[in-house]
Symmetry: C2
Subunit: 210 residues, 2 copies
């Protein structure tokens, strides 16, 4: 199976940490992609198999012999169910919905982080208001995750993975937000899980532009 | 269960059509929300239960006695599995991944539609390049759905619902794109399903601003 990646994307990281936590690294070929900074406002021309494999032309994208999945929600669902024996998220019932409740908030953090990043990459038409709105959403949702940390179980599951990736991206791109002050229990939890091999192996780094 | 809605949102429509197709309307209280146009660049102050119920402060949001889900992916998963007996998407296996492959492309269309809408609502700092990028993604992904229509089964399932909602929003907000020319089989399919009661009951309309 072919997974298109970048080292900067939290959506990619969420998938890769899932793969590493499940011990499935040897099942995947990771294919790095390159993104000039004008990706924020222009369609990037991709060569090779990427353009043919995914009409969305975003990462992550997973190509299996039978199917191509072009968003991290679907990819994580596939990896958890088809390859992971539901070890990262329960197949059904209350445990699944509790996990998805956490995940849906953590996803909202990541989405705001990426939209803000794209706005910051604009060389024209950059909206300070939009950036402020995204920062407010990030901090509001991180604060909402704060009381949920106490409910996290012993397993580093998809809810915890997604939350940890959101925290890690926040530290990397937006240290000036000082998110830890508004979510100290979350920060303490994150500092513990950030040392896991799956997390240290996937520390964010700038994506090659060319 | 309480579902926060607007009549304009394709993410809401996807959830409501799922509810109607499953015959579950009487299980939900639909709570309309209001959005002044500056939602595109400012955090909207919401009163009532909405702000307390969801830290993301976006629609759709579903509040059940046990859990709150704040994105349509999780909400559709919950409705399909917990209330719908997996009639909209298979629980597991190849049928689930084929469905999610279609869904992940249709979701990308909707996401681009909404990001473009938010950009068009800006009264300053509006990027023509960003708008063009989103239009290109919409049309590229709709064209990618074109050959997939032949694989649609007899049931109006979540893949078809999501695809139809994307087509409906495209007609409503972006008729100038003329998407039908690049996807004639998709358009013919959409014109058939657009007459279903679940679709006619949820035709998009402007969201009240106040």
């Amino acid at each position: 199976m072919r997974l298109y990646t970048t080292p900067a994307s939290p959506w990619v990281r969420r998938v890769v940490v899932s793969i590493l936590e499940l011990g499935l690294r040897d099942r995947f070929e990771f294919v790095p992609t390159r993104w000039p900074h004008d990706w924020a406002t222009r369609t990037v021309a991709h060569g090779g198999s990427f353009a043919a494999d995914t009409p969305v032309q975003r990462i992550p994208a997973l190509v299996t012999p039978d199917v191509t999945l072009v968003e991290s929600h679907a990819i994580c669902d596939f990896i958890n169910a088809e390859l992971g024996g539901y070890r990262l998220l329960a197949r059904e019932g209350a445990a699944r919905w509790r996990g998805l409740a956490d995940i849906s908030i953590a996803n909202a953090v990541i989405e705001a982080q990426i939209l803000r990043r794209a706005e910051l990459l604009r060389t024209a038409d950059r909206s300070a208001d939009f950036i402020a709105k995204m920062r407010e959403r990030q901090l509001r949702c991180l604060a909402a995750l704060e009381p949920r940390v106490g409910g996290f179980g012993p397993a580093f599951d998809l809810a915890q993975i997604t939350t940890a990736v959101a925290c890690g991206y926040q530290d990397w791109r937006y240290p000036e937000d000082d998110w830890r002050t508004g979510a100290p229990a979350l920060a303490a939890w994150y500092d513990r899980v950030a040392g896991r091999p799956s997390m240290t192996a996937t520390r964010p780094a700038e994506t090659p532009q060319s």
